[in-house]
Amino acid sequence: MISCRDVWKLYGPDPEKFLQQHGGEPSIDAVKESGYIPAVVSASLDVMPGEILVLMGLSGSGKSTLVRCLSRLIEPTSGSVHFGGVDLLAASGKELINIRRHRMGMVFQHFALFPHRTVAENIVFPLEVQGVDSATRQSRADEILTLVGLEGRGGYYPRELSGGQQQRVGIGRSLAVEPDVWFLDEPFSALDPLIRREMQDEFLRLQSVLHKTIVFITHDFSEAIRLADRIAILYEGQIVQIGRAEELVTQPATDYVRAFARDVQRDRILTARSVMGDVGHAAADAGTVDAGAVLREIAPAVLAGTSPMLVVEDGATVGSLTRDAVIDAVWGVSDSEGADSGAR
């Protein structure tokens, strides 16, 4: 749906020239020494239709800049961005406006609601700027208000709502035009932990109905794990690793990723497949578990039995799972080292 290749964003005097002088691929050190600030460094990624891709990184890691390069709110210094087959960076101002009007929606960290407009007017603002007539807008506003759980609040002003409700308005506005791609820039970071949890559930509920292609930004690894199909970890502007949560935990590309993965609840992420050993001489009658099942679900059965269980995938036996392997993977004695070796 979206694919970007070698996207760079440098801040500093005449960054295009600097990139050209270094053949388009300067080293990070060269960039820093020359006094440029590398916001996004040679980022390449593909967002598949219907998936939730989470960009994860700490503040200053370039995740916000990258997502703004994908929507061209920020002009990348170099690289290419394709949006549903269209070369986004080559699009004219008019084409860009058209794409944004019909195919993109975005939710912002601090909601970015228009204070002078009611909730309903905020939600249908994207329709209003397209010139949609007011009767259509009215009915669309009612639909969206129901969708995001704000029935009866259409006439209120943003400041009259709580933070969570305000972000529901932000979500409603971003969905008003039924976009193909949905960008969410740390949408729940400004909310209290309990409300955040509730909004995450709400988000998953909406996605189960809408099936959008989603780029979701967060600095919270547990949020990333909860919501993501795939996670891209950013560090100093670079994409360090892209993969499913389990891959990040079991095969961290760098110590940076490993540090993030250390504190996660492994039993919710690791599947039988990543923990299992060879089929070996596991007894055929010990029972079976599905290869894709997470440990939390199968642990009671595995731990209760005395002999290893068989791991099956598509009807075929692919490995066996011992109690020790499960214990080691989840509560690994020497923390990361033990858990990692167990996983391998």
Binding site: L73, R100, R101, M106, P115, G155
Partner: protein, 711 residues
């Protein structure tokens, strides 16, 4: 110890100087100046005269005079005469000014004016309405201006005073609740009861024309600056100069090019009210959160939609502050505009003051103050309003109580005027005057306090002010230049040093060096007194929330008073002369001293104070060792304001006479057209003095705040 010294990177001289502070720093910065003074005093032979006093340079004032004469009398490029252009433009103001006055006080009779200005008028008002309040206000403004057009075509009586007082009360209630309604009612009743109604309405009628125009121009300038960097780079310095030029300086060229009358005052006021509006518009548009802008972009806004549907409405609160400022400038100019023959409350005030009829002058002064306070509070309340959802469970009547009340007032008032004429114009014998009472007080003061006040005045003049003045005037200009440049270098590097040195050099070569020093000394004297009075009050007020709130109210009220008002009580006590001027400046300029001290101390983070208390500091230690150092940059910004306020008022004080300096030259130019150029240059000198202090202090405060890690 030795090891750490070795391992530390070698410090350059520049860095070592930069790290010095306190008295060492002061000594360092003073040293070039001291050297110059020593040479100057000890070995006058070595010190060429022109480095100390420049001869009588008059080329700047002469050029200014000639330029003005040229613009006044000659054809520009052989095409048109500049003065004709300005007079034509000011002629356009005649229609709206006249209409506005008819509506409020004079009553209208049909007179035939071409239709074009009316179209412009209606469109203008509707546009301003749309700008600040959306379509509802646009409709209201359009309807009002249409009404005015009809009113003008067929002729009606002026708005009866009962209706206007009633409307002020309703608007007050709508915008700010019962207290504001009471305030608006009391203020507008005063105008009627104290027989200042007619002059008040003339002033108000000018404000009605001037404020929308100034707001519109300022808004347009601010918008252009927000959209084009080069225009901002051009506009901001111009605004700086415009705002530090004394009000009188605006009046000089205007009296030449516009002439004497209401239009001249209106145009001067517009010029003076544009800068704050332009600044606040720029600020408002710049402070729209980037996310909100991005939300607009992602919704697919075109540039035009972005401006009108996202940025403009989001910046509305700042626009409203700007409009409040415009209104305040209008009242600030009321008295000064009467110097160029503008009618209204200012003219009688000026006349009474000149003939030392203090009581009457006081009543008109209070009228201006009350009107200013009323419109200040109303416009502030309007700016603080935030939209609220409409409760449709209520009936239409319940949802619009104020519109109904307003309509009721208008209809009721109309009916009342049919019953009694007194509802149209309050009869003379119903009005009261407290003037005799005040005159008695003045007489009593003159009789009983004459000797103590006189002694104080003479002592101040002979023992304090004159020696100080002589000291300032004896300064060699090169010494001051070096001193100012050194301070500039310390706080802003060579760039700032060059800027401020240029300013001082300008003063030296302007032909008004002595006068500039004369003005500077009085302002510095006032600064010292203001600090001595204001800083302790600020410290006192910052300690508890209740004191803070109370002092804040007092300060806000003082802030609204037009500068000229400060002269009234001072003249009561000291008649004329430098002590009177000094006192007026001190009263006027202590307000920012208190405000900034209070602000600086209140902004010290709580946890820092708690840390000091937990370290066992006594209250004075907390103040001396933690709060004061933290608040010092803010207090210095307060000093900057004191200086700027002082400079403006020192010029105005020239009006009461008895002091020399730049104000005198400006005032002289007002009476003699041949001297207008000199007056303008003198006014520019005031601006340059202000800008020099401003540059130094704001750069210092910025640097120090960055070091302390405050905002």
């Amino acid at each position: 110890m030795a090891a750490t010294v070795e391992s530390a990177p070698p410090e350059s001289l520049r860095e070592r100087i930069r790290r010095t502070r306190g008295w060492r720093m002061a000594l360092l910065l003073l040293s070039p100046y001291i050297v110059i003074q020593i040479i100057h005093q000890a070995a006058p032979g070595l010190f060429p005269d022109f480095l100390s006093k420049l001869g009588d340079f008059r080329f700047l004032p002469d050029w200014a005079n000639e330029a003005l004469l040229y613009l006044k009398d000659e054809e520009l490029l052989g095409l048109f005469n500049f003065k004709d252009v300005t007079r034509t433009v000011s002629g356009w103001l005649e229609y709206p000014l006249d209409l506005s006055e008819q509506l409020l006080i004079k009553g209208g009779e049909s007179f035939g004016i071409g239709p074009v200005p009316w179209v412009v008028f209606i469109v203008l008002f509707t546009a301003v309405g749309a700008m600040i309040g959306g379509w509802k206000l646009a409709v209201l403004a359009g309807a009002c201006s249409l009404y005015l057009t009809v009113f003008n075509t067929f002729g009606f009586g002026a708005v009866p005073w009962v209706v206007l007082v009633g409307l002020f009360i309703v608007v007050g209630a709508k915008l700010g609740g019962p207290w504001l309604a009471a305030l608006a009612g009391a203020c507008s009743l005063y105008l009627a009861v104290f027989d200042t109604w007619e002059d008040s309405m003339i002033t108000l009628s000018i404000v009605f024309v001037v404020a929308p125009l100034a707001a519109l121009f300022g808004w347009a300038a601010g918008l252009a600056a927000a959209k084009a960097r080069w225009f901002e780079a051009l506009l901001v310095p111009v605004l700086n100069v415009m705002q530090s030029m004394p009000h009188f300086s605006y009046l000089l060229p205007i009296s030449v090019f516009i002439g004497i009358g209401d239009e001249a005052g209106a145009i001067a006021t517009i010029m003076f009210a544009i800068p704050p509006m332009a600044r606040l518009t720029l600020l408002g548009l710049r402070s729209v959160p980037p996310e909100v802008r991005e939300a607009g972009l992602m919704s697919g806004c075109t540039k035009w939609q972005m401006l009108w549907r996202v940025e403009m409405p989001a910046a509305r609160p700042q626009f409203m502050v700007g409009i409040n400022q415009v209104l305040m400038q209008c009242f600030g100019m009321t008295v000064l505009a009467s110097f160029v023959g503008t009618r209204g409350l200012g003219l009688p005030l000026l006349n009474f003051l000149q003939s030392l009829k203090i009581g009457k002058a006081l009543e008109f002064g209070v009228a201006i103050v009350l009107m200013a306070i009323m419109l200040d509070r109303l416009s502030q309340a309007a700016g603080a309003r935030r939209p609220e959802h409409i409760d449709y469970s209520k009936s239409w009547l319940q949802r619009h109580p104020f519109w109904i009340a307003g309509a009721g007032v208008v209809v009721g008032g109309m009916v009342l005027t049919r019953i009694t004429e007194h509802a149209q114009v309050l009869p003379k014998d119903w009005t009261v005057s407290t003037a005799p009472f005040w005159e008695e007080i003045v007489d009593w003061v003159q009789l009983n306090l004459k000797s103590p006040l006189g002694y104080f005045r003479d002592f101040m003049i002979v023992e304090v002010l004159f020696p100080m003045r002589d000291g300032f005037q004896a300064l060699p200009w090169i010494g001051l230049l070096v001193l100012v440049a050194a301070v500039g270098w310390r706080f802003g590097g060579w760039r700032l040093a060059a800027i401020v040195a240029t300013f001082v050099a300008y003063l030296a070569f302007s032909g008004f060096w002595i006068e500039s020093m004369e003005t500077l000394y009085l302002v510095v004297a006032a600064l010292i007194v203001s600090v001595v009075i204001g800083v302790p009050i600020g410290i006192f007020a910052s300690t508890t929330d209740r004191r803070y709130a109370a002092v804040q109210v007092v300060l806000d009220t003082f802030q609204v008073l037009p500068s000229f008002i400060y002269l009234i009580p001072v003249v009561m006590l000291f008649r004329v002369g430098p002590v009177a001027a000094l006192t007026a400046i001190v009263i006027y300029a202590t307000v920012p001293a208190v405000r900034y001290t209070m602000l600086g101390l209140r902004n010290v983070p709580d946890d820092m104070i708690e840390a000091a208390e937990m370290s066992g500091c006594t209250r004075t230690q907390v103040l001396r060792k933690v709060k004061f150092p933290m608040a010092f940059p803010e207090i210095m910004l307060g000093m900057n304001q004191v200086l700027l306020f002082g400079l403006l008022l020192v010029i105005i004080s020239a009006f009461i006479g008895g002091i020399d300096g730049l104000g005198d030259d400006i005032l002289l130019a007002r009476t003699e057209q041949a001297l207008v150029g000199e007056g303008i240059v003198a006014g520019f000198n005031v601006a340059v003095i202000g800008l020099t202090a401003d540059q130094l202090i704001t750069n210092y405060a910025r640097q120090r705040k960055a070091q302390l890690g405050i905002d």
